[in-house]
Structures are given as C-alpha cells and as structure tokens.
Symmetry: C2
Subunit: 270 residues, 2 copies
Amino acid sequence: MNLLLLDPGEIDAMGLARLGGGRARHLRQVLKVEPGQDLRLGVVDGAAGTGRVLSTEEEHVVLRCSLEARTVPRPRVDVLLALPRPKVMRRLWAQLAALGAGQIILTNAERVERNYFDTHVLDPDCYRPLLIEGMQQARDTRVPLVSIHRRLKVLLEDDLDGLFGGGLRLLAHPSGENAPAPAERRGFGATLSAIAADQAGERALLAIGPEGGWTPFERQLFAAHRFHPIDMGRRTLRSDTACVALLALLHDAWPRVAAGYASHRAGNVR
Amino acid sequence: MNLLLLDPGEIDAMGLARLGGGRARHLRQVLKVEPGQDLRLGVVDGAAGTGRVLSTEEEHVVLRCSLEARTVPRPRVDVLLALPRPKVMRRLWAQLAALGAGQIILTNAERVERNYFDTHVLDPDCYRPLLIEGMQQARDTRVPLVSIHRRLKVLLEDDLDGLFGGGLRLLAHPSGENAPAPAERRGFGATLSAIAADQAGERALLAIGPEGGWTPFERQLFAAHRFHPIDMGRRTLRSDTACVALLALLHDAWPRVAAGYASHRAGNVR
C-alpha cells in the first residue's frame, strides 16, 4: 500500500480520521506506523494528501489529514474489454486500477461464454475492494467507472457515445505473422501518432477482445464506430497479458500524442 | 495455440510427425483439424514451418512437416527477476515466454522469502510445459534459458558476465511520486535511447525487484555492475504487473534503440 484511501465521510470537520478494522490492523501490524509519522493518503475520487499519525491505541489509528487543494485528475485512458473468464477478471481488476483506467467498459462478444456474466466478480461488493487495492498500490484516488454491457452491438450503437465522446478509439487486434518484423516496426508511440493525426482529443479508449479474438463481423462493427486497429507485432498474447501490455504502452505514449494534438489544434485556430 | 511446437526427434527422416496423447486430442477436438489442412508449426529451439495434416485416425494426427531454412532468432531481451511467490511465478512462466525472453534469471533478494525456493514451480517438469504454452501462444520456438540463483551478490559478482556479456543492463525501480508528471515524461523509448547512448549492444537485460522493491544496498550492488535505473512514472505497480508492462515497453523500443547503436558504431568505425 503506497497510499491509504479514505472515504470522504471518514474525515471529520477537524480533519481527523479514526480508522478501525482491517485497515488499522494493516497500519499497526504490517506498516508498523507510530505516532508522529506521516502517511501518504487520499480521498476516494478526491485529493491526495498526508496523514500525521496521532495515536495507534485501542485497535484504532487516528490521523490528522491535510489534503491538497487539487483533486487528482482521472486517468485519460479508458478500457473496453470483452469479459474474460471470471478467474482472469478477478485478477485484472486491481491491475487495471493500478495501471490506470478512467473507466472499465465490460462487454459481451461472440467468443465470450454467456455464463461469465453470472459471476459475483461483476458484483461491486467483489470488485470495488480490488479496484481500491490497485489504486492504493499505484497512489491513485480516482475509482475507475465500471459499466457492464450484455450486447456489444447495443453498446457500440447506442451507449458508447455517451460513455466516451470525443477522443481516440483503438481496437487491439493481433496482426500475427502479417506484422512487420521487429526491426521494421516503427513502435507503438509512432503508430499511435500516425493514427491520431489531427483527430485525437483528450482521451483514448482501448478495446481488447476475448481469447480467440473479435470475429470479422465484430471488427467491422468497431470500424464503423471509429475504432482504429492497433497491434503489438508478431507475437499474439493471451487477452489478459495483452491488456496489461497495451495499457502500459498506451499510458507511456498517450501524454505526448495528446499534447501533439492540442498544439496542432491550437495551430489551426490561430 | 497459434503454433504447434514439436521436439526435433518427433519429425522422422521423411518429414512426418505422428502425434498422440493430449496434443492429438487438442488438434482433433478443439482445433478440429481435417486431412489436407495446413497448420503453423515449429521445432523447439529450431525453425518454424508448416504441417500438412495427412490423417487424424486412431487417436493420432499425422503431419507432413516443411520447415523454413532459418532458425527463429532468440528474443533479444532477457529478464532478471527477484523470485515472486510461487502462485505468481506459476502465472508468469507462460506470460514471460509469450512476451519474449531470451533467458529468465531468477534470484533471491533481501525481500524474497526463502521458502519460495522450495516450490515445485521451479522444477523444469513444472515450468517447461508452461513456457511451451506461452511460446505456442506467441508463435515462438526458442525456449527461454532458465537459471536460478540463491545469492544475488554471487550472481552479480561471479555469474552474470557469463550469462549476459555485452549489452544494456536495466534495473526497474519505481520513482513513485518523484517521477515527472506524465505530460513532462519523455517516454520509455526516448529514456532508453538516452541511457543506451553509445554503450548498448545487441541485447538488453531487465531486472525486476520483489514486492517491496530492492533494498538500497541491492540497488548499489546493481549500479556497481552497470545496471541503469529505469521506471514507468508515478504509478508503482505490483512486481508481476510491472514485469509484463516493462517487458512490453522494452520489446517495443529495443529494436530501434539497438539499431541506433549499430549505426552509431558503424559510424565510429568508418
């Protein structure tokens, strides 16, 4: 835990937070906090700041909290994911939150098994603590927005513009052996800049398919809704590995691509 | 499975391979291969090629194999990993092989629990099938070389030059909140180029720490053995997530960094 997340209601008017239960135990027994010590903390969907430990008595930890004025910005990358099998999804929640996702859009697809949707892994009581775990790991305070969609066509045709308006839409699809050899590839960032050109925007949305990939019909549907295919080269990865790998590449490249777009647009307006 | 891997001894002098057991069942029942169909295949640590299905009778599948003349090159990125807990390591084997690792060097460290080394996950009978699974996923034929080291100091001082001679050595270490904001970061590829400058080489080695990170003493030891620190920015990731994310970034950037080095060296020689 690199940042302790509190709910807004846990900090009183005097700036004091009195924690009990598992979090107090973790602070006392694992992190071995002592009175006088400062902890990095944050408020869920709010600002980050510092907590000075005032006392660690009676199985509680009391903190005096000082929050920064500015709310932490939401990560500018969103993920649209064909629902993986429950065991894999359970592992992904914290990883997605740690890598940074503004929203997580889960969808059905031809190659997703229908019964994956009946799992408790899609229950907020199950996934929210996992998201919080990932955010505490990565020092984020913004909980990814989660939505679950049982029909891909309805999602793309009716709901997506409301969830993700202007911005760059990317469809991860392995080109496999048709991809250029590593030495000839220009790299993810350059590929992204070329795709984005003058049409990007502030945010990026990355769609990742199920094991076995999107069907040709689904790929056409994505293309009709302004998704641009992107890949990682010749190696085809399992969808959960691809999810982590592509999110890392996108987070690395996106700030510069989006900045390039902003300056391009400023140039056009002048 | 995107490429079927065979052991060299499985192909006879006529170029025929007769498969039984689990692989034949997978080909018949999951991939539903039919006589006349061509499959992508490869020989372990050898060439890739094609297999024409000749028959699928009597619970066997017979293939006529045509291999390319050229052996698949070994991935040019190696990984040095503080041994994670067995459950995590079990998941990583196939992921590392799929992302591409020339060798996997596992080591002890101050923050690794000693009993992690007693697990069967470090037994070749356990990990080799997992590596093969990852290679079949990513269409690779080169099995990562695996070595296991119980003393980090001995590894760095006595063994590493033999395992990894010339080339760029990188030490993943999160800079956390001290990292520049995303908008100010120049990106992984540019950072790598600046580190590599004129001292790179053909291969890169990426060292990834345990949960809780390397100790200050260990970081000094790595620095004394020509490891350059590199990070992914402000977000601190769990070590298995960091492993996948950093390997993806390194594979994306390395071909161009190494090519830049090669042309720089050519210029110096001229």
